[in-house]
Symmetry: C2
Subunit: 344 residues, 2 copies
């Protein structure tokens, strides 16, 4: 089977995904799967479509040297919706910048793609919070799929673990560390660094934004908790309902005292379902060594699930020396969604 | 769809599985899945078949009060192979005692079931080591499946996580704590208990056998490592190749010294693939807090996978107050195999 791919948004994650497709081309072919890139829409470097396949190597080169990709297009197009409609794609990857309050324009892109009979895949957690029910229902009505594995824990399998490997299990609660920036800050403060220096470090390695508020005030984590609750329980949950408390009131003194007591502050993300009601929270909590969260340090993140069928089940992603996370890892989650869709 | 189930072996795990089927009957029906028990073969309490369905509640009651189930049978049968062939089952659960050197008679049971067009599911890790390639090939040739999720980490998803949620990932190595008994012993020794008392404790809670050698000498762990390597890399690997070192030479003094240095001894189970060659080991190792294994205490077990696509990915099972592991948990792995097979 041959699949035509459209990329809406062509930033770090999308370009890492394009490179991953090229790296895994042989492995895909061994499974009878071939692909071509038929539409690319960028923020600042134009758009291009060609239902017979675009030159992806040139597209990567042009964008990375800040040139327009317009010249690669079979005919002139000017925006993302045109790219989608003229790409004749089978699968659309949505990785464009999203307004966090509305989920737009990404929701419109995904609606358009699904309405044209494409599968839609995104790494944007806001889309899950704002559009899960609508987009999943629309996908179903078109016989297509809407997937978003990369929205929580980077590209590591979480949603698919629940969807595919826990049949008929009832999830009663989860608890995790879902924001790397705050975990790095707390870890470094435990080693004696002060808050400002730890934030600056996170900015220097590209983990925290210039304004770190979204991370340190807990909103990034709250969106992830809301996305997990919305999907795993099919109960719409908003970040406002999670109502996060950030880490800004955790002082070096509090951390030192916790350490002296053999404990640690972690920005704990949790949710519980009782009956049809979800209670969710994001807040700093003292955890002791018996918690699976205690040992998640620095950029390691993870989540523990409590079900009615087995002991507590944790998924943890740990930093490693020979691989950086970030776009490369997020790209794998998008890629896994693609393979799982086309093989199902 | 209606599925007829045969249970070969009706010990703690199989009976917990029967109860789980009854508990999840409504949830299965909501997915269009109904079932009946059409064959049961026990070690000491007879055998029974009825293609129209046996009275499972009576079968549970009889076996648990040490009575024969022969009276439940539509006609007299005397052994497991007869139970399989007369059960007219769609799915056979193999949970009978297995000879660790040969995998028999369970391998014969599974061959017979697959040849009769049944799916075959087991929690016996020896079967994976002795029969993975043959039984998987036989299943495939019959359009059926051979599954064994419960063989490693109890009923927690491990094999299915790799099969379903890591498409086209290349596993380069894994490292874990796969034997609960030795982990409990080492944890208790760290708290000052001596080796003999810790072993006795494990026996008293039913985790260790009267002769604890299989656990403490590392063979239980080695079989699990061999099973993982055999399946995840499709490279036949034996426990003899793993050649385990047990924990019997780890003294209280060594443990105290490690503790003073902020480290811990763990019975580390690991394997690495380089080219087409697998190197595997089970041996006590000092681990420090940066290792995901460091925090797995008492009966908690887990495994860390290194792939070419994401950061290190760990699956950890943690003890919890409100649920005991053991048969109930193993039963869920068998149940999950069933649901995954019939939904695929």
């Amino acid at each position: 089977m041959h699949y035509k791919l459209a990329f809406i948004g062509f930033g770090n994650v999308a370009r890492a995904l394009a490179r991953l497709f090229l790296r895994k081309q042989g492995a895909l072919e061994a499974q009878g799967i071939t692909f071509s890139f038929t539409g690319i829409s960028t923020g600042r470097h134009g758009c291009a479509v060609n239902p017979d396949g675009l030159d992806i190597v040139k597209a990567l080169e042009f964008v990375e040297s800040r040139q327009s990709i317009n010249s690669l297009s079979l005919f002139p197009i000017t925006n993302s919706l045109e790219t989608i409609s003229h790409s004749a794609a089978d699968v659309m990857f949505e990785n464009s910048p999203v307004n966090k309050q509305t989920g737009q324009p990404a929701i419109d892109h995904i609606r358009a793609a699904l309405n044209l009979g494409m599968h839609a895949i995104t790494a944007n957690k806001g889309l899950v919070v704002h559009g899960y029910r609508e987009l999943t229902a629309l996908a179903k009505s078109k016989g297509r799929q809407f997937r978003f594995e990369s929205t929580v824990l980077g590209g590591a399998p979480v949603f698919s673990v629940f969807r595919e490997t826990f049949p008929l299990a009832e999830l009663s609660s989860f608890s995790g560390i879902l924001n790397a920036t705050t975990n790095i800050i707390l870890s470094r403060m435990e080693n004696g660094e002060d808050y400002e220096d730890a934030v600056e470090y996170c900015q220097s390695i590209g983990v925290a934004e210039t304004d770190p508020a979204n991370d340190v005030d807990g909103w990034d984590a709250a969106i992830k908790v809301a996305a997990l609750a919305t999907v795993l329980w099919d109960i719409p949950t908003t970040p406002q309902q999670v109502n996060p408390t950030g880490i800004s009131k955790i002082t070096s003194k509090m951390i030192a005292q916790a350490k002296a007591e053999g404990k640690r502050y972690k920005l704990v993300c949790s949710a519980e379902k009782v009956g049809d009601k979800v209670t969710a929270s994001v807040a700093p909590q003292l955890v002791d060594p018996s918690s699976p969260l205690y040992n998640m340090m620095n950029s390691s993140t993870g989540i523990t699930f409590r079900t009615d069928v087995i002991l507590d089940y944790s998924i943890i992603e740990t930093e490693r020396d020979d691989m950086k996370g970030g776009p490369v890892e997020t790209a794998y989650g998008l890629f896994a969604d693609f393979v799982n869709i086309v093989k199902s």
